[in-house]
Amino acid sequence: MKSTLRIACSRAHLQQVRDFVRNYLNSRSLPEITVNQVVLAVDEVVANFIIHANNEDETQFLDLELAFEKQELNVEIADHGDTIFLPGAHQSPDLRAYIREGRKGGMGMALVNRLMDRVEFFTRGNHTVCHLSKHLA
């Protein structure tokens, strides 16, 4: 069963995105920590698309699709904005340096890469698509 959601590029819609993912996963009787990890990964990617790729332009929108194939959850997040957003190679953040420097950002994609089995960003026409997957027993 697939489930889809379209949101405008405003961080005010992040709560709606999390509720959408939770509702989809809650029918599967998964542990609360597992559900939270998937919700967090999707939230981080969506927040990156909204803030960094679309500069919070509410005339732009994102499409989310959740689907299970056997025990694998597949998430597609398609950005309809024209800025290609391809995060670089994953590096572990140096948290001690972040603390010294008082940095606020730079941990989101590290989290996503640790939470999901597979993380891919690619282009489709003039747009960016993110695909996440995770095996959920």
């Binding site: 961080r11 005010a12 992040l14 709560q15 999390r18 609360e32 920590i33 939270n36 990890q37 919700v39 967090l40 939230d43 981080e44 927040a47 909204i50 803030i51 953040p93 948290l95 001690r96 972040y98 603390i99 010294r100 420097e101 008082g102 940095r103 606020k104 950002g105 730079g106 941990m107 989101g108 590290a110 989290l111 640790r114 939470l115």
Partner: protein
């Protein structure tokens, strides 16, 4: 996201209620950025009702930690839900921040 500040002698307790994400993190940032907060010896963060944290929420704590340490203000988290603690753990922040199970341990920390 609601942040309630409860001052008591040399300790400020912050009660977090709700979900801390890229939209709501500004509420917490505003509270932690207040200059008066450095007059306390300890800032205790009650996470009992904190049901979600994203990297934006973690980033707010990280961005103020050095300032607190420089002013000898101890930042202590307590009553953290398992799923929220798990997020700190995944990044290794549990080793860099003081997180204790109960209010009594937070007061003693």
């Amino acid at each position: 996201m609601k942040v309630t500040a409860q001052p008591s002698a040399d300790t400020l307790t912050l009660l977090l209620d709700g979900e801390l994400d890229a939209s709501s993190a500004i509420v917490l940032d505003t509270e932690l950025a207040k200059p008066d907060i450095l007059n306390y010896r300890k800032v205790l963060v009650d996470c009992a009702k904190l049901s979600y944290i994203s990297s934006a929420g973690l980033g707010v704590f990280i961005s103020h930690l050095q300032r607190f340490q420089d002013a000898n203000v101890k930042l202590v988290f307590f009553n953290m839900q398992e799923k929220v603690f798990n997020v700190f753990e995944i990044l290794g922040l549990d080793a860099l921040m003081t997180i204790v199970p109960s209010a009594a341990e937070a007061e003693a920390a």
